[in-house]
C-alpha cells in the first residue's frame, strides 16, 4: 500500500444503467486531505461516493480506497448520506444518535457504564466526539428540536465516532445558512487535521468552503478533474472540462464566480422562482 493515498482512481469509468456517468477519470486524494467534490447536478458526485464506498463497481479502470479495493475497508469509512433533517417530533437525544453510530448495529442491550469498562469507554468516546464538534451545549436535547446546523454537527460526530480514516459527507452544507456553512466547513477542516482523517465533501457551492480545502474534484460533462482549488476552479481547466469558454472571476473578498457554465449555479432554485 502506498500510504500517501487515501483514494486513487486510474482511467476510471462509472456507469449506471449501462450508460457511463463519467469516464477516463484519474485522481489521487492524499491521506489527511480535505477535498471537495463539486459539479452540476447529475454530473456524478454521488456516483463517485458510491464507487468509493464499494457500492458501485467501476465499468473500466481501477480504484484504490485506503490501499485496498473499494468496499474492502468499509469499516474504516464514515459516511454521512445526503439528507434529511429529523422530524421535529423525534424524541431521541443528539447524544443517543452519536452513540448509535458507534455500536447501534450490535444486538442486545449495552450494559450500564457503571458495570462495564467497555460501556464506559464507549460513553467516553461519544463525549469526546460531541466536544470535538462543539455540540456539548445541546447534545442532551431531542434531535428533532435542534436547528439544521446543530443536527449537522451531531451527524458529523456520529460519522466520526468509529474513528474512520476516510469520511464521506454528501452535501452536508445543503440545508444550512451561509454562516453555518462556513462554520461547519471550518469544523471539518479542524477534524481533518486533528484526527488525521481524509474528508471527501460533496458541495453545491465552493465559496463557503474554499478557504479550507486542500483539493477539489470537479465532475462535469462526463469527465472529472482533480487538483488544488486554484488549479481546478480556473478558466482554462473548466473550459477544457465543459468544452465551452468559461471564465472564473475573483471577487475582492476572494470568492470565485464561475461565468458561462452550461448550468447556472442557481439552477435548483429556478422552480420556486417561476411561481404564479
Amino acid at each position: 500500500m502506498s500510504d500517501g493515498e487515501a483514494v486513487a482512481l486510474a482511467g476510471a469509468t462509472a456507469s449506471r444503467g449501462g450508460a457511463p456517468v463519467w469516464s477516463g477519470v484519474d485522481l489521487t486524494i492524499g491521506q489527511g486531505e480535505f477535498a471537495a467534490v463539486l459539479g452540476p447536478n447529475g454530473a456524478g458526485k454521488s456516483t463517485f461516493l458510491d464507487v468509493v464506498l464499494g457500492l458501485l463497481p467501476l465499468s473500466a479502470g481501477s480504484a484504490t480506497v485506503l490501499g485496498a479495493a473499494p468496499g474492502a475497508r468499509r469499516a474504516q469509512i464514515g459516511y454521512l448520506p445526503q439528507r434529511r433533517s429529523f422530524d421535529a417530533g423525534t424524541r431521541v437525544r443528539g447524544r443517543d444518535l452519536v452513540r448509535l453510530g458507534l455500536d447501534g448495529g450490535r444486538w442486545g442491550l449495552p450494559l450500564p457504564a457503571a458495570l462495564s469498562p467497555a460501556s464506559r469507554a464507549a460513553a467516553g468516546r461519544v463525549e469526546e466526539m460531541i466536544e470535538l464538534v462543539g455540540a456539548g451545549a445541546y447534545a442532551s436535547r431531542p434531535i428533532g428540536a435542534l436547528s439544521g446546523g446543530e443536527q449537522q454537527r451531531l451527524l458529523i460526530a456520529q460519522a466520526l465516532v468509529r474513528r474512520p480514516r476516510l469520511l464521506l459527507l454528501d452535501e452536508p452544507l445543503d440545508s444550512l445558512d451561509l454562516s453555518n456553512q462556513g462554520a461547519v466547513a471550518a469544523l471539518v477542516q479542524r477534524i481533518c487535521e486533528s484526527e488525521g482523517v481524509t474528508v471527501l465533501l460533496v458541495a453545491h457551492d465552493v465559496n463557503p468552503i474554499l478557504g479550507y480545502l486542500d483539493r477539489v474534484v470537479y465532475f462535469a460533462a462526463g469527465q472529472g478533474v482533480e487538483g488544488t482549488p486554484r488549479e481546478v476552479i480556473s478558466g482554462p481547466t473548466l473550459s477544457r472540462l465543459y468544452g465551452a469558454p468559461i471564465e472564473v472571476l475573483e471577487a475582492s473578498d476572494g470568492r470565485l464566480v464561475v461565468v458561462g457554465t452550461p448550468e447556472p449555479p442557481a439552477h435548483h432554485h429556478s422552480r420556486h422562482d417561476h411561481g404564479h
Binding site: 447501534g104 442532551s140 434531535i143
Partner: protein
C-alpha cells in the same frame, strides 16, 4: 362488579385486602401487569417509529379474529394472536419498501379496517348475537381472565420482551436513522418485519384484556406520555412500562370500588396523564 361488597375506606391495607380477596381480581391484576409491560415497551417503539396507524390496523383486525375463533369453537387467544400475526405479515408486505411506513397505502388499509370490523360483527351475529360477547370483544374482559390465560400471556410476554431486548439497539438505530443504519449494515427490512410481528403480539395480548377498541390506552398513550417526559431511550422505555402498569392497576382498583367499567377508568387515567404532561411540559418538552 362486586360493588355490593366493596366499600372504600381510609384503611389502605384493608382496601388492598378487599381488592385481592377474589381470584378473578388477582388474575386481572396479574394479567394487567403482564400486558402493561408488553404494551408499554413495544408501544414506545411503535410511537418512535410512527407506526401508530399500523398498530391501529392490527387492533381492528384482532376483533374479527377473536370473533371468528369464538364462532369456530377455537380458543379465543388463538383468534387474537392468529389474526394479529397474519395481519402483521400482510402489513409488512403492503408497506412501502417493507419498512412498515404506511403512507400511500393508508386508504387501502382503511377500507380493509372497515371490512374487518364488519366481518367481526357478522361473526358475533352468527354466534348468537349476544351483546355481552360483542361488548367484551370490543371493550375488554378485564374481570373474566382465567389462571390459564394469565399463564399463556406470561409466556408470550416473556418471549416478546426477550426478542425486544435482543433487537432493541439496532431497532432503535433503524427507527431513528434508517439510512445510516442501513449503510452501517443493520438489516433494516428484517427488523421492520420482526417489529411488526412483535407489535402484532402486543396488540393481541392487550386486546385479550382491554378489547380491540381500547388497546391504545396501553399501547399508545403511556408511550406518548413517556416520550413527552424524556428523550432518553432507556428511561423512556421504563417510564412507558411504569405508566402502563400504573394506569392498569389504578383503573382496576378504582373500578372495583365504583359502578363504572374498568376500560373507562384505564383509558381515562392514561388520557388524563397524557393531557397533564402535555400541558405541563409544553410543546418541546425537555431531555
Amino acid at each position: 362488579m362486586a360493588t355490593e361488597l366493596a366499600a372504600l375506606s381510609w384503611n389502605l391495607v384493608g382496601d388492598f385486602e378487599q381488592l385481592t380477596a377474589y381470584p378473578f381480581m388477582v388474575q386481572a391484576l396479574e394479567a394487567g401487569a403482564i400486558v402493561a409491560a408488553m404494551a408499554g415497551a413495544i408501544g414506545w417503539f411503535m410511537v418512535l417509529r410512527r407506526q401508530v396507524f399500523a398498530g391501529h390496523t392490527l387492533s381492528v383486525i384482532a376483533f374479527p379474529g377473536a370473533a371468528g375463533a369464538t364462532l369456530a369453537g377455537l380458543p379465543i387467544a388463538l383468534g387474537y394472536f392468529g389474526a394479529c400475526g397474519l395481519g402483521a405479515l400482510a402489513l409488512s408486505l403492503v408497506s412501502r419498501a417493507g419498512e412498515g411506513q404506511l403512507s400511500s397505502e393508508s386508504a387501502a388499509i382503511g377500507t380493509v379496517q372497515a371490512f374487518g370490523l364488519g366481518l367481526g360483527f357478522l361473526f358475533v351475529s352468527l354466534y348468537g348475537g349476544q351483546l355481552s360477547g360483542l361488548q367484551s370483544l370490543l371493550f375488554g374482559t378485564f374481570l373474566g381472565i382465567t389462571a390459564g390465560q394469565v399463564q399463556t400471556l406470561l409466556w408470550i410476554a416473556v418471549a416478546a420482551l426477550a426478542i425486544l431486548i435482543v433487537l432493541g439497539r439496532p431497532l432503535l438505530f433503524a427507527s431513528v436513522d434508517g439510512a445510516v443504519a442501513r449503510a452501517a449494515g443493520v438489516p433494516t427490512r428484517w427488523l421492520a418485519l420482526a417489529f411488526l410481528l412483535l407489535l402484532g403480539m402486543a396488540v393481541a395480548a392487550t386486546a385479550e384484556i382491554t378489547g380491540a377498541l381500547l388497546v391504545f390506552a396501553l399501547l399508545v398513550t403511556p408511550a406518548a406520555t413517556a416520550q413527552r417526559l424524556t428523550a432518553r431511550p432507556g428511561r423512556g422505555l421504563a417510564l412507558s412500562v411504569l405508566i402502563a402498569l400504573a394506569v392498569t392497576w389504578l383503573g382496576l382498583a378504582i373500578a372495583y370500588f365504583s359502578p363504572y367499567p374498568v376500560g373507562f377508568w384505564v383509558t381515562s387515567l392514561s388520557f388524563g396523564l397524557y393531557v397533564a404532561v402535555r400541558a405541563l411540559a409544553g410543546g418541546g418538552g425537555k431531555a
